[in-house]
Amino acid sequence: MPKLKLSGVSKAYGATVALKRGDLEIDGGEVHVLIGSNGSGKSTLCKIVAGSVRPDAGEILLDDQPVTVSGPQAARALGIGIFYQELSLAAHRTVAENISLPDLPMKAGIFVDREALASRAARYIALFDGVTGDGFSADATVETLRADQRQLVEIMKALAAETPVLIFDEPTSALDRAQVDRFFDILRDLKAKGRSIVFISHRMDEIFAIGDRVTVIRDGETVGTRRIADIDPAGVVRLMVGEQDELAPPASAPPAANHTGAGSVLGVKDLSGRGFANMNFEVARGEILGFGGLHGQGQSSVLRAIFGATPPAQGAITLNGKPFAASSPREAIRNGCAYVSGDRTRDGVVHGRPILENVTPIHYLRDRLFLARPSALRDKALPALQALHTKFATLSHPINSLSGGNQQKVVIARWLIDRPDVLLLDDPTKGIDLSAKADLFALVRKLAEEGVGIVLYSSEDAELLNNADRILVFNGGQVTRELTGTERTRYNLYQAAYEAA
């Protein structure tokens, strides 16, 4: 008898069908992986189970009993806990308060029982002992924590519910390897205790490392469930993409790096700033320079510094041989610099506005436009969007009508209307699906061939190894190793990343 069973669950937001037919069966004592491309409806399905989204139709059985999950509170009462992809933390509250937020321990009927609060927090923090990082403590306010630490708090909060069913919607996207390893240990432990766990990730290796069964969801429909033991990554991908054309096989041999002749388009000398120091590197025209290493080692900070978002403390930058010190993104863009952030919700998408307005802001600036003539802009926007195979109905639809991956494509497309000299990619594929990734990297390579200098930071090793001509490995805010040519192996990358800084 499955612990939890969903059948025919659906949800539409106006015209957007987020989930057409969600089916899922989870047993006690298993880690059930849910996989599907961006916008396929995974989070929607999870939220329905957790009560925070109201389904349009479908049935939920818990221990074979049909149940109505009328809200998050009801879900907890039914024994369902959840880690939300976008987190559910109160920024100004402490870690301890956040862990217990759903049911703050009480004293005398109205007071918060501070002791109980602290001891409960200590219990869950201890699970991650050693991997929580600097500044993490029960009474730190969440606001002061880094992204990975916040994700840990959200994990602890989910665990603290101590529910038989636990849903984790992309809990590892900001975690480093050590943190992921620890988390998986905890999951195994919970599994052993008979809990039912749903786990979502876009990282194939994680899926195979922890999953027992995998359910694939495509375009809002459940397409099948397999035992992990019975399937390989290629099989999963086949299920995900369906009958559509096969993905191009990953480049078996690293691309050749023969840019020695081309001049350097971006030069960085002795650059230091918040989160990094002593940066020295050059990017040649047509080169894809990779940034590697564990996350949060200064890669993003360097890119943002070059882009003028957080101007560096010292050092020099040259662009096309000329000194370049952007004090704002505005200035950087005017000088031919482009920057794509992986955090589209924060740095990219202008929510609620038409797709067209989301593609054009860079063009406005580069062309010093004053008027926004829709017809002229349309002609500029369409080719850029098509180059990435962006799926959308019309340019006047709000960007939020698109799936996350397609939103990210729109955000990337804005940099393609006027060709930049330098393209800074700051983990650009965070949370986008495999085919979108393939499209993106094909395009990036094409841009490189056209003479653009590209810097690529990726938190996914495979992405880096497959696409970068040269890799700088970051550790503790410094570049500790440069990998070129055949040195670019996973082994070398890990070794450089994990050695003590």
Partner: protein, 329 residues
């Protein structure tokens, strides 16, 4: 494996930690400076009697600032707070008069007053949290409604409150002014309320209401409770006003609303919610009072008094926001 992440972060200094724990410190500093200046220009104003007078005059605003704080915690706002004060004021005055002005009738009227404040707060809460109207405009609309009610209860200012009532409020017990007892009780109530689950929940909602909801908090109910608390404190503000003015006036609280918001901000709370203290708002209200009297004591010509007060409050607001942010950054 040891944490592989080495993100340089500034060592958190003692001062910073202090400001984090006591976000009202900047306000307290402004208050101290203002007190000193008041004392400098008019020593009598900081005498025991002078200070008692200050408290008597501004206790109502203090109460209303406290009222406002609880909704601001959750990122809401109550532009009807002053109208609730007016309504409760006329209700209790009229009832006290109708019931004969005895001690018992005074207590009964106060009870009804609290109930009226509570009811108004709940109405606001329902309108804002349950019906999901935007707080600024919705409570502006309810303020018009409450004012209408107040005008219905007492169309013209003037009905006197029984002497038993205001003589108590303005009087002394064992040589100590009544309002000082009130302040002590208020301090205890604030201390107690700060430790309640409701306060934490309101602040969590102010941080991110969707997140709080998804965590399983009954967000709507909690916000309504916040407004209810606001209504109760607005009623207490009305008691103070009535004690100090000894009469009913259907428009008496109108001008206090925006000052209550200013006091909350002066006290270091974030209007966007999630961060702040009630003590800060109390200090904020006193700052407004001290600015007003200082402007007079330094001898500002009468036509300039309003302008100078306006400027001083603006500067204090800006200083409070800036200092608070510097200190916490």
């Amino acid at each position: 494996m040891a944490s592989a992440v080495a993100n340089p972060r500034p060592a958190s200094s003692g001062i910073k930690r202090l400001f984090e724990r006591f976000p009202f410190l900047p306000a307290l500093m402004i208050l101290a400076v203002l007190l000193a200046l008041n004392g400098l220009y008019q020593p009598r104003s900081v005498s025991f009697i002078g200070m008692t007078g200050l408290v008597k005059t501004y206790l109502a605003l203090i109460m209303l600032a406290i009222a406002q704080t609880y909704v601001v915690f959750a990122g809401d706002i109550d532009l009807s707070a002053g109208a609730i004060v007016s309504l409760v004021n006329v209700v209790i005055v009229v009832l006290m008069e109708q019931w004969g002005g005895s001690g018992l009738s005074v207590m009964a009227a106060l009870g009804v007053g609290l109930a009226v404040g509570l009811a108004c707060g709940i109405v606001n809460g329902i309108v804002v949290a349950a019906l999901r109207l935007q707080a600024i405009v919705a409570t502006f609309a309810t303020s018009i409604f409450f004012t209408g009610l107040a005008l219905y209860v007492l169309p013209v200012a003037g009905t006197p409150a029984p002497a038993a009532f205001w003589r108590t409020y303005g009087g002394r017990f064992f040589e100590i002014p009544f309002v000082l007892y009130a302040v002590v009780v208020l301090a205890m109530v604030i201390y107690v309320l700060a430790r309640t689950r409701l306060a934490t929940q309101l602040l969590a909602i102010g941080d991110d209401s969707q997140a709080a909801f998804q965590s399983g908090l009954p967000v709507t109910a909690i916000r309504i409770r916040g407004y209810a608390l606001c209504g109760i404190f607005a009623a207490l503000a009305a008691f103070c006003i009535t004690g100090d003015t000894a009469s009913g006036d259907p428009l008496v609280g109108g001008k206090m609303t925006l000052f209550s918001v200013a006091a909350v901000v002066l006290g270091g709370s974030a209007l966007s919610g999630g961060f702040g203290t009630v003590v800060g708002s109390l200090i904020g209200a006193l700052i407004i009072g001290l600015i007003n009297s200082l402007v007079f004591f330094v001898g500002t010509p009468s036509e300039w008094q309003n302008l100078v007060q306006g400027l001083a409050i603006l500067v204090a607001l800006m200083a409070g926001v800036l200092v608070g942010r510097r200190a916490r950054a």
